[in-house]
């Protein structure tokens, strides 16, 4: 791959996270470089989703340090991730079920909208112009993901694969500099997976978005990621380029052991 990979923008050092007696993450360190596609793999329950939740402030690790663009990050609340331009999708689709595709994706631009509720109620000032300007941006996302035909459909009525795509759209609408994707292809058929792969690569390529990706499909991971972290039982057992990781003894053992 010939794209330019930049400096480290996210550096996690010795992260440990416990839920009561359960050690979800133990002493994990790894970093993410600007513009790269960084995969996190590992068997179920390895702590991958927890890792993403630590990155965007949903979980707070008991130990360890996190550096974001060179600065140590203090305790972070989830809504601050959005301000730092980190967007994500969830393993179990977390769309707003009662809203249309368009409205769901519009919510992705929430932090960029400045009008207050009085302007909204009276529909004057910034309310109207903002709505239009952001609608234009959202339509770009809709075009990019090729979902024009379902714009006005309530998301609850969509098939699973399309819901995942809309969720990606909502994250993209925020124009994130880092995108966290939690199993974006789980449960998809081959064709849907190919589409999703293409979107991820295009996002990375066209917008330079840094991507942290959790995925089970080894073929996909080896194909599209620049570097891979391997977790097992909350511990890091491998880290490096796909080729390296593939030949790592411990990784092979963990995967064979887990029946993959």
């Amino acid at each position: 791959m010939s794209k330019k990979i930049g400096d480290v923008i996210l550096d996690l050092q010795n992260i440990s996270l416990r839920f009561g007696g359960v050690k979800a993450l133990t002493d994990i360190s790894f970093n993410v470089r600007e513009h790269e596609i960084r995969a996190i793999i590992g068997p179920n329950g390895a702590g991958k989703s927890s890792m993403l939740n630590v990155i965007n402030g949903v979980y707070h690790p008991q130990e360890g340090k996190i550096f974001w663009r060179g600065k140590e990050r203090k305790r972070m609340e989830p809504h601050m991730a959005a301000q730092q331009n980190i967007a994500r999708t969830f393993q179990n689709i977390a769309l707003f079920k009662g809203m249309s595709v368009l409205d769901n994706i519009m919510t992705g631009r929430m932090t960029k909208m400045k009008a207050n509720f009085i302007e909204h109620a009276l529909w004057f000032g910034r309310a109207k112009s903002e709505e239009l300007a952001h609608r234009r941006k959202v339509e770009e996302v809709i075009d990019f993901l090729e979902i024009q035909h379902i714009r006005k459909t309530p998301v609850g009525r969509l098939p699973y694969g399309l819901q995942k795509r809309v969720e990606l759209g909502r994250a993209l609408a925020a124009e994130p500099s880092m995108l966290l994707l939690d199993e974006p292809m789980a449960g998809m058929n081959v064709e849907e997976k190919q589409d999703m792969c293409r979107f991820i690569l295009d996002v990375n390529d066209q917008f330079g978005t840094t991507i942290v990706l959790i995925e089970h499909d080894m073929g996909v991971v080896m194909d599209i990621s620049d570097r891979v972290v391997v977790l097992d039982y909350g511990k890091k057992i491998g880290d490096g380029e796909p080729e390296e990781v593939k030949n790592n003894e411990e990784v092979i053992k963990a995967y064979l052991g887990a029946g993959h």
Binding site: N56, V58, E77, P78, H79, A81, A82, Q83, A87, R88, F90, A94, L95, F96, K97, G98, M99, D103, M106, T107, G108, M110, T111, M113, A115, F117, H120, A121, L122, W123, A127, E130, E131, L132, R135, R136, E139, R170, A174
Partner: protein
């Protein structure tokens, strides 16, 4: 005229984002407003104004308030009537104690007072959800009514807390006839319904719905849960507060704290369940339904009973009413949680395709 979208191509996003994108809807609404503002005053009798139309509009407004909180922001409340009481008593006190304050300003201040109280009782929503929150709002219901009876100052030391609303005078005109009160209420409710529609189609409304549907995802997107929920409580209580002020000033004339009972809160909750949770139109449909059904039954039941030669009393009517309400509420909760408004929408979708359903 056929109900069609065909031929009305949206060439700009602005056109697509209009309040009512389909032309027939726009025309329909204008016609409705024309009838309400011009036709009804000419045709309706005094009984209709004071017994049906005015309470219908006021309860629609209260239902709007509750629907903003429960239907859009997903926070269940059983304190609607109490927030109306706050509005009623606040408006009364502003008129009483502030020299020369215009009545409309008093109504707005009543809304703001209710909003402040709403925020206070909304604080528990930051920690608790669903059933437990409902119990917390129930506390608001009892506490507020208790306060209004307990502190005589609030009712200007009248016996058992009864207050008599002052005259409504705007720019020298005295709104003392049923028809003038009706027009005033109609104007206020129309403006506030429009504002509510604007709110829910903007990013304020989307933030509410996002918090309602999936709060973790909402916060990851950058929505701050606390201000979003509290704003919903504030706006909702503002609506209920104004509704309460109108209830005292334009409908009953004199009210007592116990009039704003839990029964009334439930009645408004039933309005939004039957009308449509999360729908502006639903508030009006629900209010009309719940207020008109008893009247309808009063008219028809005696006849029906006679037909079957059954014994009949007034108690029977109210029992049958309760039965029918119960059945309907179960029906809507189970079969059509989006209420009459959704049925109306389905009818329109069918109509749009009629006569070729495929």
């Amino acid at each position: 005229m056929l109900y069609r979208e065909a031929g009305q191509f949206k060439t700009t996003y602005a056109a697509d984002q209009q309040l009512f994108p389909i032309r027939q809807d726009r025309i329909g609404l204008l016609l409705l407003l024309a009838v309400a503002f011009v036709g009804v005053p000419v045709l309706a009798s005094e009984y209709w104004f004071s017994a049906i139309l005015i309470p219908f509009l006021i309860f629609s407004l209260a239902a709007l308030g509750l629907n903003i909180l429960t239907g859009y922001a997903g926070q269940l409340s059983l304190g609607t009537a109490a927030f109306m009481a706050v509005g009623a008593y606040a408006a009364y006190n502003f008129q009483l104690r502030v020299e020369g304050i215009p009545i409309l300003v008093s109504f707005i201040c009543a809304g703001l007072t209710a909003a402040a109280v709403g925020i206070l009782f909304g604080l528990p929503s930051l920690r608790i959800k669903g059933f437990y929150l409902a119990v917390a709002t129930l506390a608001a219901q009892f506490f507020i009514v208790w306060c209004l009876t307990k502190f005589p100052w609030l009712s200007n030391h009248s016996s058992s807390g009864v207050i008599s609303a002052q005259d409504i005078v705007i720019m020298g005109f005295n709104f003392d006839t049923p028809v003038s009160k009706y027009l005033l209420v109609l104007a206020i409710v129309s403006v506030m319904a429009l504002a509510a529609k604007n709110l829910v189609r903007s990013s304020t409304g989307r933030a509410w719905m996002a918090v309602r549907d999936m709060d973790v995802a909402a916060s990851v997107i950058g929505i701050k849960l606390m201000p979003t929920k509290l704003l919903a409580f504030a706006v909702s209580s503002f609506y209920c507060g104004v509704a309460g002020a109108l209830y005292a000033f334009c409908y009953l004339g004199s009210v007592e704290p116990d009039g704003f009972s839990l029964d009334m809160s439930f009645k408004i909750l039933f309005m939004i369940i039957i009308g449509g949770v999360g729908s502006i139109l639903g508030c009006f449909l629900g209010a009309a339904f719940i207020l008109l059904l008893p009247i309808f039954l009063d008219f028809t039941l005696p006849g029906v009973a006679e037909l079957f030669g059954l014994p009949f009393s007034n108690a029977t009517v109210s029992h049958i009413q309760i039965l029918i309400f119960g059945a309907l509420i179960m029906f809507f909760l189970i079969v059509e949680p989006h209420g009459l408004a959704r049925l109306w929408q389905i009818a329109k979708e069918k109509l749009r395709l009629w006569p070729f359903p495929h």
